[in-house]
């Protein structure tokens, strides 16, 4: 006979409350984590969605990409050596639309590569979010530093940098705008460990992300909130299981007196804990994926199933540890205690 199940059936309300707490806390954690990822995506999707690789910038730039200058001979050398390598530059700036309205963008120019949009002289490809601001294919855009004009050629998905939509422009237009011949960065995809090129400093993708102003600070605070939530929920689980166990001390004592094994009591508690937690977490995963679908477009929300499942496993482990720690009482209960305490 499965007494763990019998107890849940008889005390539905108590277990329902426990389940709702686990559901609410994990759901909140998933949502916050979705927002954290969303913001990080909004901040740097352009870089995050690249394959793993190495970024190079000039050592003199002191880890600030827009101060970096890689001279042409060095750049040519690197591009020749690695056929997938690409030289690129990123500059924050403004586009004036046809109504004279300024739109903040991140200009990106690169040598030919599959990794970045290819645009001809006088053309621009924009992140799709610009479409919502009323810009259409064929619109003519200008910039105060640029002598020519751009015609909008099309839109690309999820190209964001430093919270701004990316505007892909031709490398010659870029050089004209910023009065420079040198590109800022060389990106070499797939290269495991960076070898030291003279005067250049190498960054992994993750390291490069952290050179983006605001990225580190933003991610750190959001991740801290997520981990706080995980820790708090862990403690909440433990406290709840502890209280449920304390209520049952008398029962555990009497069960031990009639000969029930301590391990059976632990199994009973684990079964209940697993049942409630798995149920609550599944609901929570389903709800958070549902929320992803109905969340407003403007809301930076990015939550993969993989992330929720990873967090769920962490919740399960924490719940298990919490329940087991609070279950130490079960081991300590003396049958006599319960008998002498009177009616349970």
């Amino acid at each position: 006979m499965n007494i763990a199940w019998k107890e849940i059936k008889k005390n539905k309300v108590r277990f329902l409350i426990l389940g709702s707490i686990i559901f609410l806390v994990s759901f909140l954690t998933f949502i916050i984590s979705g927002l954290a990822n969303g913001l990080s995506q909004d901040n740097a999707a352009l870089i995050k969605d690249l394959p793993d690789g190495q970024f190079y910038m000039s050592t003199a730039a002191d880890e600030t990409y827009n101060l970096s200058k890689i001279e042409s001979p060095i750049q040519d050398n690197m591009l020749n050596e690695k056929k997938d390598a690409v030289a690129l530059s990123i500059q924050m700036g403004f586009l004036n639309d046809q109504n004279g309205k300024q739109q903040s963008v991140a200009f990106v120019a690169s040598t030919d590569s599959k990794l970045f949009e290819h645009v001809k002289d006088g053309e621009v490809i924009l992140d799709r979010s610009m479409k919502e601001k009323g810009i259409k294919v064929g619109d003519v855009l200008t910039n105060n530093q640029f002598s020519g004009k751009w015609i909008v050629k099309g839109f690309a998905d999820d190209k964001k940098f430093s919270h701004a939509p990316v505007a892909f422009v031709n490398i010659e237009n870029y050089k004209d705008m910023y009065r420079t011949d040198a590109m800022q960065l060389v990106f070499v995809p797939g290269e495991e460990k960076a070898q030291a090129a003279a005067g250049l400093q190498a960054f992994s993708k993750k390291e490069f992300l952290h050179t983006i102003p605001s990225y580190s600070a933003e991610q750190m605070s959001l991740n801290m909130i997520v981990w706080f939530l995980v820790v708090i929920s862990g403690m909440l689980f433990a406290i709840f299981f502890y209280m449920m166990n304390v209520q049952k001390i008398g029962l555990y004592g009497i069960l031990k007196a009639i000969g029930v094994k301590t391990s059976t009591l632990f199994k009973m508690m684990w079964t209940q804990m697993l049942f409630i937690t798995v149920l609550a977490l599944s609901l929570s995963v389903a709800f958070s994926q549902g929320f992803k679908m109905i969340s407003p477009d403007g809301m930076p929300f990015h939550l993969t199933l993989e992330t929720t499942l990873q967090l769920s496993v962490i919740f399960l482990v924490i719940g298990f540890i919490g329940a087991t720690l609070s279950g130490v009482q079960i081991k300590k209960v003396e049958p006599l205690q319960a008998i002498q305490q009177g009616e349970v």
Binding site: K6, K10, G259, V260, G342, E343, V344
Partner: protein, 224 residues
Amino acid sequence: MSVFTIDEVKKTFTNGEVAEEVLKGVNLSLKEGEITALVGASGSGKSTLLTIAAGLQPASDGKIWFEGQNINLMNQEQIRKIRASKFGFIFQFAHLVPFLTVEEQLTLMLDVSETKLKRQEQQREIDNVLKLVEMDHRKNAYPSSLSGGEKQRVAIARAIIHKPKVLFADEPTASLDSKRSKDVMQLIQRLTKTLNITTLLVTHDEEMLAYADRVIKMSDGLVS
């Protein structure tokens, strides 16, 4: 025939600096099919002796012989096994499992004692015992809906469903009125006789002694 022998059992409780010798060398033999009643003033050590005999706490010294083995030398797991399969317990309160029906209380005890029965036999066994304690009409009830006397009858059913060799009853009627007390004692007497159980009964109610085969007086940590 003596199946259970308590031999020079001593028990000392130490509370900080103070040591109190509650049992001072008790000798007692229990006979099969007999109710041995233990009487004495409150605090004379009756419950202590019963719980030691039942393996619920260890003696400080002495031997407790059951089926040729000294329980006082056994480890926790060995004692648990004996409690589960060979002993039955009735206390002042019924101590039923609040979330199990009357029937399930008995199923649990059969599981715990590892009584291997087929489903049908198990059901028959449970029905029989519930008839014996006249609780068959309430077999699907939960403890919260039973009266004190009914709960105690279910507790008795649980104590004997697995056919224990020894039944330990510590003031089983203390929480009942005198009519119910007599019913419960008659029941214990009947079960002891029909199932040939060895029963150790602790009571301080003189009226209940009428149901005992043997009365042992306990005072100041010794029996006479």
